[in-house]
Each structure stands twice: as C-alpha cells, then as structure tokens.
C-alpha cells in the first residue's frame, strides 16, 4: 500500500508514519492471510497504481487543497496586510513560511533579506513609540546615513541567516545592496553577520536534540560536500567551460522571460486584491499538478544495493522517495519533487550517485523548475529567486554532467554544483558573493577555481544579452536608481541644460505665508536660500534648506514682525536638535498639520539656523556626466547649479536624482544635442 509522501503538510505526519510502517511490511500484509490468487499478487506488485487508483486521487485532492489554502493565505496576507504594514517585516516572515509550505518553487532568502532590512529600517526610525518598542539610544541612528548603513547590515544579516553564510552576507551587501560603499560599512556588516553566525550556531547546537523539526539539519553548512576530492583534466575543463556558456545563455533567457512575465502579472495585480489571490491560487494549482503528476512519467528504479543510507525514505525529507513504487524501489522524480527545496538540492549535489537520476528525469525536473520559477516569482507571495535558480541550475548541471558522462570524469554531483554556479552567474550577475555563498553552502574549497571559472564565463556570456535580474527589476519598477556610469548622452549635455522649470528660492529671512504657500503647491524637498540685501551687498547663495526642517521651524513658531535675523540661539532655545532628526517614513510633519493664524502668516522667519550653508554646487557649464559622478559618488539629493558669468542670479537651478535618470533626460532631449 504505497502512499505519496509530502513532508510539507504537518498534519499528515501521523498518516504518513502509518503508511511508512505499512511500506516496510510486505505489500499485501493488510489482507491478512493470502487468499488472493498469485496472479493478483503479481499484478499488484508490478503495477500498484491501477489497484490503488482511488487512494491517489484522494491524496491528490488533499494535497492540492492544502497547497491552495496555504497559497491563498499567503496571498491574502500580501494583498491586504503587507502593503499597509510596510516596515515591520512580520508579514514577510509569515507570508514566506506559508509560501514555502504551499510547495511553490520559491526561496526563503529574498524575504529574509527584506525582513532584515525592515527591522534595521525600523531601528533607524528610532523604534516604535506606538508599541512601546523604543529606547533612548536608538534615536542616535535617526539620520539618513546611519539608517542606510543599518539597512545594509540588515540585508547582510538576512543573507547570512538564510544561507548560514556570514561572509557571503557581507559580500552580498557589498556587491548588490549598497550604492555607496564605505570601508566602515565592511566592518559593520562583518560584526552583524558574526553575531548572526554565533546565534545560528547556538540555535543549531540547541536543536541538535531534534526538537526543532528540520531546522539545524546539516549543521552550519547546509550541503556539506567537503569529503569530495576534485581532480580534473583538460577535457573536464572544456566540459566546465561549456557548462558556463550554457548557464549564461539560460540565465539571460530567464531574465528576459521574467521581465515579460512580471509585466503581465503587474497588469493583473493592479486590478485589485482579488485578482492577486486568484493568480496566486492558479499558480499553486499548476505547481501541485506538476509535482504530483510528473513523477508518474518515470518508471521505478531499484534501490542501489551498495547504498549505506536508507532506501526508500518515507515519512521524512531525504533522498530516494518511494511514491508509487513497490518496496525496495524509488521514483527519481518524486525524490526531487516531494522534498523540501533544500533536500532536493542536496540530492542533486550528492556525489557517488551518478546513476540515481536519469537524463529524462533531470530534463523533466529542470524544465518544470525553470518554468515554475519564472511563473511563481511575481505572484503575491514573498519569494526569493536564489533557491529556484540553484534548483534549476543544479538539475541543469547534473543533466549536462550525465550527458557528458562518457567524456568527463567529473562526478555528476559536482556538475550539479557547477551548474548552480553558472545559472546563478547568468541570472544574478554577481560573482564574489555567489562564489562565497556557494563555498559556505558546500564547504568545499578544492572546487574554488572551477566555481570561479564557471561564474566568470556565465556572467560574461549573459552580460552580452541583458542586465542582471535585480537591476532589471529596479528599472522595470521605475525606481530612481542611478547607474554607476553616466549615460553617454550626458557627455554632450551640461548641468544647465537639464535644470527645467521655474526655480523656487527663499530669501534668508522669508515671509511665513510665502513658505507655507510654496510648500503647499510644490512637492520639492529642497530649496536654495538667497542672501538678499540688507543682509548682503548683492544677492548671493546662502545655502539649501530642506522641506522637513522648514516644517519643524514653522511648527516652532519662531517668527518676527520685521525682517530681521533672530539667530540660532533663539531657535535652539525652543527646539532641540533632535526635533530636526529624520522622521520615520510617512510619520513626519506635513504642511497640512500646520495651524497658523492669519497674523502669524504675515510675519517673518529667519531661515539661517536651518540652512545648510555648504551645499554642493556645480557651475552651469559643467558636463552633466561629471555632475552625475559627483551626485552619485557623494550620494546627494540636491545639488545647486550656479551661474558661470557674473551679473546673474546667484543660483540658476537645482539638480535632483530625477535629472540624472536617462528616461527623463531622453524625454527632454530626444536627440542628443551637439555642443
């Protein structure tokens, strides 16, 4: 009596255990004494499916039911709660748990990075006063620089926790997360991930007793392959180079397809929460059908007799799944589909089992995972790309290794690892961090030269076609992300060309009504302040003032009837420096919150105390490309453009992030203007 085994549905465990014990017994044990004719026994033995059809149908219904329920719950969490509850990271965690449980082809590392970043961002807001989760010292982090650093550390901690790869986490933060790298950050992310490693290590030690489920299995190294000794010949190298090229091509294709699919999904998701849930549930049903249906395509394989480990394994995650096969045999596809993602990867990486997975098995599994990975990413479930990519890459690598088995002497499991590296290189386009993460996952430094080679080739090949998947998504979402290199069209433009629209400036001692009116009717966040007579002989640039600081100053009502300087002493007597600290996202003062009387509106306010007196400036005939390097290199938000010749206003424009975005510049200047 064979029963499909899903390790994901916990409530099934007892049934499964029964089934497992049933499986260790002879097949027809339940019938008590053997009253059936020998033909029937033989038939049941060779083709157990026919006689047990009804059990599989009910199992399938329950399996699909569980998965769709979990998927719907995850999607509901995302669709209804997460968009509003941005910043805590808790919906992410639950959504991710539900998503992984629902059997989706998705990873937990993306949500973990997001969670880490969310927790860090929350600390950078000074904690939460609403829930009483705040300490006095946290407010020292309440500025842009520290918050940015904290978020980087949070993301590093997420990677470190997801892959148990502390050094990989540091490098991921360096290679993918930060735009502005400071050497202090290296030391800070390292401290963070060191703590993560210690905590993980402690928890794994604690869980070794076995009372934490699957957590801690495999120790600190998730797929320990260290026993494998790699020696390779020139032919092997050629095979590895081929693998790198193919991985690069597959990665580039993956990026192309995911872009198209995400665009279609975003059209659907825009229609409302209900559509999000329908889409998610549909993908869940497709996934369940694939995982349940496809293993029927393969024939049963007898367990290898020399095997030390248990075969088939039932009722727990592992290798050699029985599925519909009789005792002593296993279903290769089920060994990959009916497992946690981690265990499927471990099975593919396993050495000395070259014949375990046949060419057809690997081809079916690779195609399914590649397609499902594409379809799943972008549904309303918190999901990561790393695990699907590793899974698809490992099956692809093992497939290539099996096909080249006669030429190359390398182990099929090693090919799986290199395939994962090549596909990661082809999609993510990261090098050092992927390399270190793979090393920390597998603990095999002997393979380092091969992994480096395959990553180099895959990235180089894929870079000929398109950009990395994360960069592509940032572009697709239209986030104002500045490229490292200035666009070629910027070289033939100057800063003065792109400062569009009328410039709004304030006088250094300005009328309250002017400020309030300006803040109400523009969305700008920074304004140049001009020192006018009588405070200077001729108008000159005093500095730059931020909207948020203006609001705090206005709220403090430090006004004068006449146009005179009040000086900083008066301001800081009434307002503490901390009042000007960066507010949490969406929690700052708004211009609508100001409640000023008619009389107050007619008074003056001295902007000197809140003006940044040393704004970064460029001359209007500065090459836009060089201005972009300055803007990005220093991580600015506003940059004043000053005139080249005398006798003009002291500031002719203000550059913001949007002025350096190619799409905006191209809109202004469809054809590059020759200068």
């Amino acid at each position: 009596m064979a029963t499909p085994v899903s390790t994901r549905s916990v409530k099934w465990e007892k049934d499964v255990e029964e089934a497992a014990s049933a499986l260790e017994r002879p097949l027809l044990y339940k019938r008590g004494t053997n009253t059936t004719s020998q033909i029937a026994v033989v038939g049941a033995n060779t083709c157990p499916i026919e006689s047990l059809d009804y059990e599989f149908i009910s199992a399938f219904v329950v399996y699909v039911g569980c998965n769709t329920t979990l998927a719907a719950a995850a999607a509901a969490l995302c669709a209804y709660i997460a968009p509003a509850a941005a910043g805590s990271g808790i919906p992410e965690i639950f959504g991710s748990i539900l998503g992984v449980s629902a059997g989706f082809v998705l990873g937990k590392e993306g949500p973990m990075v997001h969670t880490g970043a969310c927790v860090a961002s929350w600390l950078g807001q000074g904690g939460s006063r609403k829930y009483g989760l705040t300490w006095n010292w946290i407010r020292y982090f309440k500025n842009d620089l520290d918050r940015r650093d904290l978020i980087t550390c949070g993301a590093a901690a997420g990677v470190a926790a997801a892959f148990r790869a502390p050094v990989g986490g540091v490098l991921f933060a360096l290679e993918e997360v930060t735009s502005w790298w400071r050497s202090a950050l290296l030391w800070r992310t390292f401290s963070t991930t060191a703590v993560v490693a210690m905590v993980l290590r402690g928890l794994i030690n604690y869980c070794r007793g076995g009372h934490c489920g699957l957590f801690g299995k495999g120790g600190l190294i998730m797929f320990d392959l260290s026993s494998r000794q790699a020696t390779y010949t020139a032919t092997d190298l050629a095979a590895v180079i081929l693998l790198g090229i193919l991985g690069g091509l597959l990665g580039a294709l993956f990026n192309f397809l995911i872009d198209r699919i995400l665009r279609v999904y975003s059209l659907l998701n825009k229609k409302g929460a209900r559509y999000k849930i329908i889409l998610t549930v549909s993908i869940a049903v497709i996934t369940s059908c694939c995982t349940f249906g496809l293993p029927w395509l393969t024939t049963c394989t007898p367990c290898p007799p020399e095997l030390a480990s248990k075969c088939p394994t039932i009722g727990r995650s592992g290798n050699f799944k029985n599925f519909q096969c009789p005792a002593g045999q296993y279903n290769a596809l089920a060994s990959l589909f009916f497992n946690t993602n981690d265990d499927a990867i471990r099975n593919l990486f396993s050495a000395g089992t070259d014949r375990e997975f046949g060419v057809s098995t690997l081809l079916i599994f690779f195609t399914t995972v590649y397609t499902l990975g594409l379809l799943t990413y972008g549904v309303a479930v918190p999901s990561g790309l790393f695990i699907p990519v590793i899974l698809a890459g490992a099956s692809f690598g093992r497939l290539v290794g099996t096909l080249l088995g006669s030429i190359s002497g390398l182990d099929a499991g090693l090919f799986a690892l290199l395939g994962a590296a090549s596909f990661l290189g082809g999609t993510m386009r990261m090098t050092v961090s992927v390399c270190v993460i793979l090393l920390e996952l597998t603990n095999d430094l002997h393979l380092l030269p091969l992994i480096m080679l395959v990553l180099l080739i895959a990235k180089s090949v894929a870079d000929c076609f398109n950009k990395g998947v994360y960069e592509q998504m940032v572009r697709m979402k239209g986030l104002p992300y500045l490229e490292v290199h200035a666009e070629p069209c910027m070289r033939s433009l100057v800063a003065g060309d792109v400062v569009a629209g009328p410039l709004i400036t304030f006088s250094s001692v300005e009328r309250v009504s002017t400020i309030v009116h300006t803040l109400r009717h523009t969305g700008h966040n920074g304004f140049p302040v001009i020192e006018d007579p009588p405070f200077a002989p001729a108008p000159e640039l005093c500095g730059l003032v931020l909207r948020s600081h203006l609001l705090v100053l206005l709220q403090g009502r430090i006004f004068t009837r006449d146009r005179v300087k009040t000086g900083p002493a008066e301001v800081f007597r009434r307002l503490a420096p901390f009042d000007f600290a960066k507010a949490g996202s969406g929690k700052g003062l708004k211009v609508e919150d100001l409640d000023l009387s008619e009389e107050e509106m007619d008074m003056f306010v001295d902007l000197h105390p809140v003006t940044n007196r040393s704004p970064y400036t460029v001359v209007e005939n500065m090459s836009l490309a060089k201005a972009a390097v300055l803007f990005r290199g220093l991580g600015l938000r506003h940059m004043c453009v000053v005139p080249r010749t005398q006798g003009r206003p002291p500031v002719v424009g203000i550059l913001t992030r949007h002025d350096f975005m190619p799409q905006y510049i191209r809109g202004l200047y469809p054809n590059t203007i020759p200068r």
Copy 2:
C-alpha cells in the same frame, strides 16, 4: 651521528641525506664492529651532544655563514639596485627569495603583493618600449583610472598567489588597497584572481610529480584542517574571548613597537647603502643564533608511539625534527625553528598533537618570533608581515590553549588557528579579508563563527590603542594619504582658509614664455585657465590645465604670432590623443627637455584644446570638511575654489591633496579658528 638539518641551504642536501641515512642506522654503525665498551655506547646514546660538539660548531659556522651571505645579497639588491629599478618588481622577487632563504622571520606575501602591483603598473605604462615588451593594445590602459584599477588587480593577484586564496585576494584589495571602490573593480579583481587560481591549480597539478621542490605541497589549500570537527561549549567560548582580548593587546603592542623600531632603522638606513647591509647582516646573525641556539634549551622528547607519520623527519621539511636528539626522539623547538615558515605554521596548527609542544617550548618560540618579527621588518630586505604575525599568533594561541587545556576541551591546534586570527586582527585590523584568507588557508568552514568572533574582539580591543600597522606606516612615511573621515578641525574651516600662497593662472591664449617660466619655477601640476577679454566679456573660469599636457602642447610647437584661438582641429592634426596619454613614472616630458627659440618664446599658444572645461569647483565658504569628502570621494587631484561674491577674480585658489592633510592644516592653524 646526529647533524642539524637545515632545509634551507640547498647545497647541504647531499650531506643531509647522508646524515639522514646514517641516522636510520644504529648510532654506532660507523665504527664497524662494536669494539667499544658498553658504557661508551650508553653514553653516546644518552648524551650525543658532548661527543659530537665539534660537528655542531662547524655546522653552526656554515649555517650562519650561509644565512649572512644570503642576507647580504638580499640587502645589496635592495640597497643598490631596487631603489633605481623601481617599477619592474623583479628585484623584489629575488630579494624576497634570498630573504626567505636566509632564514629571516619574514613573509613572502608582502613582496608578492608589491610584485603584482609593479607588474600591473608596468602594464599601465604601456609596457616597456626599451625592452621591446609592449603591445599596441596595452596603451589603452595608459591613464590614471585604468592604471589604478590595474594596480589594485595586481595586488589582489599577489595575495591570491601568496596564500593560494583567490577570494581572500579580492577582499584584501577591497579592504586594504583601494581608497575608491567601484563595483566594476570587484568584478575585475575577481577575474584576475580566478585566473591566478586556475594557473596555480595547473602548476600544482604539474608539480605533483615532485620535480618542483616544496612548491605545490599541500595542494591548493596550504594548511588543510578540514577533517577537524569543531563542537564547543560556553567555557570554550570564554577561552576564545580571552584569546581575542590578549591577541588585541599583543597586536597593539606590536604596532607600537614596530613604529619605534622603524624610526630607529630609518635613521640608520639614511646613512647609506653600507649601513643598510650592516644592519641586515646583524639581524641575520641574531636570527641564526636564535634558531641554532635556542633548541638546545629544550630536552628531547620521545616520538609519540601511535603516530602514523614519520618521526623524526630528517632531510625534508616537516614535523618532529631530530636536531641533536637520538633516534626515536625529537626536539620540539627545532621542529619549529628548523623548518620553512609554512611548515612551522602547519606544525602549530596540527590537531591531535596536544602534547607535542610544551609550555616552555611555545613560550620561547613565541617570544623569539615576536621579537625577530619586529626586528626584521624594516631591514633592507623585501619582507611581508603576514607570515611572522601568523607564526607568532599561532604559537601564542597554542600556548594559551595548552595553559587552558584543563578548562577548555578545544584542540591545541584549533587554539593556534584562533591565536593567529586574533593576532592578525590585532595588528592588521582587517576583518573580512583576514577571515577569508584564513578560511582559504585551512579549508575549515566549521570554525567560521569562532574566527569571526575572535577577529571582532581583537580588532575592537586593539583599536582602543592605536591604528592598524599599514595605516601607521603610511602615516610614518608621510605619504599624502587622505583619511576617510575629515579631521574635526576641518569642520571649523572653510575652503578659502587653506588655499595658501599666490595663485598662478594662465590666460586661455597665453604667451609661451609665461608658461615656460611658470613651469620652470613652480612644481605645480595643475593650473586654472582664465577666459579673458576679448574671448569673454569679463574674466571667467575656463577650466584647468595639467602640466603634462602643457609640455606636450609646447613640444608640438602649435604657436601663433597673435593672440588668437587656433582651435582643436589644428592641435589634433599635429598631435594624436595618445600623445597626451599618461606617461610612465619619471618617463614623461620635462620642462628642461623643451628646446624653444627666442622667437617661439615670444609667440602665443591656445590652451583651449588641452583645458579640462569641467573642473570640480567649490565655493570659497564651503566647509573644508565637506570639500574633503568631495575631494576624496571622487579621487580628485585638483579642485578650484571659486569666489562667493561677484566682482572678484573668477577663481580664488586651487586645492590639492596636501591642503587636506591634517599636518599641513595644523601648521597653518595651530589653534582651530572659531568661525
């Protein structure tokens, strides 16, 4: 007939082999038939030293002689050849080989990093035309940016080759070498070290036959400890924390002492090449005396009977050196001193040999290596600090481990590894790169959390006392290295405060004699160019011109009799863009090379074609701290200071690297000026 064994002096090999075979024979074999009384035999057995005194003296003389000769040769190479032959890296290699052969406590990785950087710099100069080592494509690297990147890659390759640690090389470049990190650099250094790894791997494979001497021993991982399984308790953690604190203290002390010693040495070295050689030879004699004399202090230990490896080892590098001991016994101190540095480290790291080295042995060895490491660095031999620090740290760690043996259950070899990490953290103050280099040296990822912890603690402790050893040396040498953070005194200064001395500017079409005269009488490398009437209605900043470009332009003799623009067409008809490419160090045009007639001197030259029209500028009242961030963040060499108010010259000064050095600023402003 026991003889001291030095693996370093190659010509001794034959004698050593004979001695070795003699040692495997019974002690009194040479005497033919045993005609001596039994008492004499017993005496020779228990105290071989007395009877063989004269042999040891001659051995000592030859040993010291060889070492001093090698040391003198290395010092001569450094003192006479290297200072002039800067840029090829070849004297470095030979000097390093001689230095290591001379038995100094120094590492080969420093010179290898230097060699890598030299080769890269040489490529960045477009190769060498003199020796015919140039290709046409190399000239594309002939600019500042690419040369800087190439040098970084070269340094990474050096580390990768020295430690067989490709990822460690990338991180070393990131953490220690570069001031300006660009994400492209990560990918470039990764490609470089990947090639290094492949080549290394290939050579090691080739050398496995044994015809490359010690090279390739240990494979790609120099100290493979991967078989060791680390489980640790809270007590072990406390021991490790103690180790980290002690390592930090020792590291800070090391940095303090090395600063003092280097200052004394530099006084000696200044006196001339002869003094350099004398100093080097003296240190070589001291080192030889220590390595030869100190092993006599320990008693002989019987070889552990359960040992699988050979004991004692003679005639080759390895563990359990016999020295003066009878057969079947070993001298623990000689096992550390009479070995290559690599093998000494391997012996200290070795697991399961807790009793091999006693407390006194480790204490003597640690003290000697610590002192010799301090004394050796700074003599006129190319030397690295990594190996001495690892050696001292490993012996210190093993010492602590042996002392804490009753409390902690951790292996003494593991303590040695952690000790090396803590001492590296305490002196170098690097975290991620040291961590990864240690991982790649030992291939034991299970230890990662402990290594990270010990590094964090050691660095934090040591940072309380002084700066990292490399930073300290950069300061001591007075190199104009800009700190990441602006000095506090800069916050109360503005850019206009530090632009000292009269400003030299050129007119956009300038008289040749003015330019030649200026270039002869100032050392400046950049000059602001002013657009004067009739080319502009009022004087305005046209841009910045470099000395090297001016010289090429003058050499090209594109002069006019009248003050008119010639335009770029005329210039680029006579001069190719490549003529302006960055020349190699010391190989560019000099003002003395110009041979202009009286008539030519009186003509005009149009500077527009060679002027950088978009120089980075700051306003004179910009905070100096913010100007420093801009200057360092973009890696500038010159920055124009423009006036704040109108009606003044269009540029009021030029800022260079020196203007941001604290020592210069402090010289100008002994007391911070309140503003």
